[in-house]
Subunit: 158 residues, 2 copies
């Protein structure tokens, strides 16, 4: 069944910042984004899935120009946020598959994940909305992933 | 500064499914979504942030009608996916704040997180796209959260 995909986009201007081992209780997300807002850091993706044993991880991305400032803000706030580890990397690329009305984007997501798996590309972060699936992968796979995904969704001939 | 928010939406037809302690290596996302696609499960949100020590958690939501089938598919595939724990709950609500052109949605996100924190509401899952911020919270807070967010973004008078 032909999946209806409008296009595939990528962005290299993404610095990934992961805050790990944060308490999963009210107020922690505000303790992270309050200072970042005050420092005028432009956030792109924000991703947090469910935690385990009262702790969770949160990953977000900023434009590369804001990476150092964002990290400095978080390091100042470590006592207030109480994270165990802060990890950051610019070696990532965001790749987004945009569907056309994706209530059931299970099939579109499956094609994306299968295509990346077949080429041995590890998916670091996943975030979806109604019309889009975005992943963060290692930047060195940008061209390989983009070519493979265009083929997988039948976008080559265009 | 007045944040430009187009509206706030919520959906109670969400069953949260968390797969915890999955290996963070190529092919695992495909091992999860391949069988779910074959079982015609309609997925809404998919959220995975960066892992720790080679393991990560993935959370996704399905319409309540698909919850039992999705859980059965995952339980059959436990050896193949190698997750440590599967957790599911219908007691959640998805609340989404839709902005207008949100390159810098840091401020909009901050208002959302602060407003929920002030009322003691824990944020279980976060996922964003360019124009939208979605969170999963406990369903019992639906009315309180919607009212508080409408006030916070100045949408009351409309
Ligand atoms: C956890 C899962 O996303 C894994 N990293 C994969 O690429 O499939
Ligand atoms: C981890 C963080 O999202 C926390 N659960 C909060 O509500 O702020």
């Amino acid at each position: 069944e032909k999946q209806v995909v409008a296009g595939i986009a990528y962005s290299r201007d993404e610095a990934k910042i992961s805050v790990r081992g944060i308490p999963d209780r009210p107020g922690i997300a505000a303790a992270i984004f309050g200072p970042l807002t005050a420092a005028h850091v432009n956030i792109d993706m924000i991703v947090q899935s469910t935690g385990t044993d009262g702790l969770t991880n949160m990953t977000f991305t900023v434009g590369c120009v804001d990476q150092a400032r964002a990290v400095a803000v978080l390091e100042e706030q470590q006592d207030h946020i109480q994270y165990a580890e802060l990890h950051t990397s610019r070696d990532v690329v965001k790749i987004s598959v945009v569907g056309v009305g994706m209530r059931s984007h299970t099939g579109i997501a499956n094609t994306m994940f299968r295509t990346l798996a077949e080429r041995g590309i590890n998916i670091q972060v996943i975030s979806t909305s109604e019309i889009k699936i975005s992943v963060l992968i290692d930047a060195e796979y940008t061209e390989l992933a983009m070519r493979a995904l265009h083929t997988a969704y039948g976008l080559d001939a265009r």
